[in-house]
Amino acid sequence: MPQPSQRILAIIPAHREAGSVGKVVSAMVDQGCDVLVVDDHSPDDTAGEARRAGAKVIRLPYTLGYGGALQTGYLYAAENGYDAVVQLDADGQHDPASAPDVLAPVLAGQADVVLGSRFIGGGGYPVPLLRRMGQRLFGGIAALITRRKITDPTTGYQGLSARVVKVYCTELFPEDYPDADMLVLLRRMGIRVLEVPVKMYPSGAQSMHSGLIRPLYYLYKMTLAILMATIRTLPREGAP
């Protein structure tokens, strides 16, 4: 997949993923990537299984959540000078076979962020109604602001250039998970975003839209996050 001169890092944030993370790591190792698993302080053998499958493992001493674990991977990629990053989930939801499609536009210099979408190209699966509604609402708002339609703003399957990895190492990156607010920020920074179809499977994890409080918090958080992404002063790229 990558050119010999290009260094690619696959970042896999993982929490309680013993039983699935090994297969994902093996599949990515087979594709010629360096693989980094950020174990978000799992109580099970996630770290050991990932190591045995051939990944480098960063084990966090406390649980930071999805965003904090991902950002640790970006910090590692930036420190070690990787040319591009592909990130995917450890639960097997994201088919590793789609990684070349996600990385190709980044490696070809056509985009800095490539979002793997489950909603284009027929590679997806049925999404719960409430979740789909949330995605449509905030995806629609982001589309209005950025004047660009993105079908799957919450996707965790992404390809990133070294430039974006540096941006994601700053406090601009959200603590919980990147969403439509990041699309607004990326647009304001002139960063090129592209969507490609990927194969995804249903996740066994609890949705962030389940229950009563979570959807309300999501509604509040995303409204605020998009507002902040619109009005926040952006740092100059390359500034410490």
Binding site: V38, K56, I58, L60, P61, G68, L75, Y76, E79
Partner: protein
Amino acid sequence: MTVRQIIVISLVAVGFILLVLELIRRHKMRERYSMLWFFIAVAALSVPLLYTGYAWVARKLGFVEVNNLFFFLAVISLFLMSLQFSIALSSNYARFKSLVQQIGLLETRVRELESRRPPEDQSKGA
């Protein structure tokens, strides 16, 4: 204001100032978070001394009873303290997150460096 009220308010305020000082002495409270507590204690201490002045301010602000002004000020103070704590918590979380990430990165780097050491060096370090 009765003499009994003056004595009670003064004792509570002085006791509160001593409590804050003791907490700082024992390193249970940092100086930066003590300022608002001191301000409240001094304000409470000033009530018996400046009661007439407070009554005048209450009338000018439209409060029927001077006690209502005190309740209002107390609520505002609590609100400001909560705000200060939220800011401090957010700032501390950002530092905590950065520390956790750096520990994870450094631990991985140490493991990599140790695995590269020749076996004789590893036995010396053990």
